[in-house]
């Protein structure tokens, strides 16, 4: 039986991720855990996150989970979601903090006073359903239409130094990176667990993925 660990470092609501994974993988064992040993033994790891990056980094370290997360991200199918994607990078403008540094690049804030082509003000956080344009045919996009909409809620976005990692972009109003991948690792800025059919499909693809 496949065993998926959802990393719990005390930030935000992990129930949604858990429920969505249960729905797409009823045969799998889904555990929400803050135990480094459980993460080490899991077949797959989901690294979600909500809230502010400085708090997330502090809580992760406070629970002694940094090494376990880094090890999982290097060795087994690993899915970072939202802050869980941002934390993989070297540095975030949110609170001017260092991330885990697994991927080179930084996390930046959307500009103030952005407008769309019709002159309407674009709000921050970027909140709601936006189109995701795939740049690759990564297995996690299987069965998901080009420009399918996913649910986003964030004020910061990642800017990888290595552009080969970029799997998808979205526009707000300029293109920003909303999915990256390297080897066994995949990270998304949007919330697949809250993105109805397209999101559930991506989670199902993750559970079946053999990098």
């Amino acid at each position: 039986m496949v065993n998926v660990a959802i990393v719990d470092y005390g930030m935000g609501n992990l129930r949604s991720v858990e429920q969505a994974l249960r729905s797409v993988a009823p045969e799998a064992e889904i555990v929400v855990t803050d135990d480094a040993r459980v993460i080490a033994q899991a077949d797959r790891v989901v690294f979600p996150g909500q809230g502010a990056m400085p708090d997330c980094m502090r809580e992760l370290d406070g629970r002694g989970l940094r090494a376990a997360v880094l090890e999982a991200a290097r060795s087994k199918p690993f899915l970072g979601i939202c802050i869980g994607l941002q934390m993989l990078f070297e540095h975030s403008a949110e609170g001017d903090v260092a991330g885990l540094g697994l991927l080179r690049g930084e996390v930046l804030r959307f500009a103030a006073n952005m407008h769309d082509t019709q002159g309407n003000k674009l709000k921050v956080p970027h909140m709601g359903w936006n189109q995701v344009g795939h740049l690759t045919d990564h297995p996690l996009w299987n069965g998901i239409d080009q420009d399918a909409r996913f649910y986003f809620v964030h004020s910061y976005y990642v800017k990888p130094q290595d552009t080969d990692l970029i799997q998808a972009t979205s526009d707000y109003p300029q293109p920003f990176v909303c999915a990256v991948a390297r080897d066994n690792l995949f990270g998304v800025q949007f919330h697949p667990e809250k993105s109805q059919a397209a999101g559930l499909k991506l989670l199902q693809n993750f559970v079946q993925w053999n990098p």
Partner: protein, 252 residues
């Protein structure tokens, strides 16, 4: 491009969805879990549940409803009503809510908004404002389900809430609520222009043109409606198709 959101609102009391007119005279609209599933099928972008009794006796009911909905419906869920302390926020998030809406308690204790957003993130803190026009170009914040005047100016108050960490404003016109003659567009425009965070327009939707006007004329980032969906006048899908014909970006 980011889509404008359509959010059906479920007012819940004693485990049932109800709908009132200007905050009084309730009418039964059905089982919350069943209705939530139906709106999800129709393509709702989010769902909002307001626990309108929120007495301590009934508190457990809304948790059970949210737990049931969250295990079947994979779109964002907002829950409000009776949120008084950070623990209430935590309990609702644990039950499966993605966002928590704070109304009266934000006025009584603005620090709650700051504490909750710094603990759980701005993305999950919605401040709900019940607004009533008191003079030309002036709207005042009311609390306790619209019964108590606060003397606070709605535009100033919404900016204050933004600075304390609210991630979104749910703006209800009490004058329009249940009247079915459209949003208070002047109010909506004033608030959305004053803020950097998204604004959900609420109160007064009677037809699909009203929804579209909320976005095109009011400048709202999302539109909320209850009775036009509950009583089968329109489906969420019809609303989206109509908004699309008005040049509004929607998720179909």
């Amino acid at each position: 491009m980011l889509a404008k959101r359509i959010i059906p609102c479920l007012d819940v009391t004693h485990g049932r969805v109800v709908k009132g007119v200007s905050f009084v005279s309730l009418r039964d609209a059905g089982d919350p879990v069943e209705i939530a599933r139906r709106y999800d099928d129709q393509g709702a972008d989010e769902l909002t549940f307001l626990d309108i009794t929120a007495s301590s006796d009934d508190r457990g009911i809304i948790f059970r409803i949210i737990e049931q909905v969250a295990s079947q419906v994979f779109i964002p869920l907002t829950v409000g009503g009776g949120v008084r302390e950070v623990n209430d926020v935590r309990n609702l998030l644990n039950a499966g809510a993605d966002k928590v809406s704070i109304n009266t308690s934000a006025v009584l204790n603005p620090q709650l908004v700051a504490d909750a957003s710094s603990r759980y993130g701005s993305q999950c803190i919605v401040v709900a404002i019940d607004a009533k026009q008191v003079a030309p170009e002036r709207w005042e914040v009311f609390t306790h389900g619209g019964r108590k005047a606060t003397g606070l100016d709605v535009v100033e108050w919404s900016k204050n809430m933004q600075s304390l960490g609210a991630g979104e404003i749910l703006l209800t016109s009490m004058d329009r609520d249940g009247q079915k003659n459209g949003f208070d567009l002047a109010l909506t425009r004033r608030v959305t222009d004053a803020l950097e965070i998204p604004v959900i327009a609420s109160g007064g939707v009677g037809n699909l043109q009203h929804l579209a006007d909320g976005v095109t004329l009011g400048g709202a980032d999302a539109v909320l409606a209850a009775s036009i969906f509950h009583f089968g006048e329109y489906t969420v899908q019809q609303a989206k198709q109509f908004m699309k014909t008005q040049g509004i970006e929607v998720r179909l």
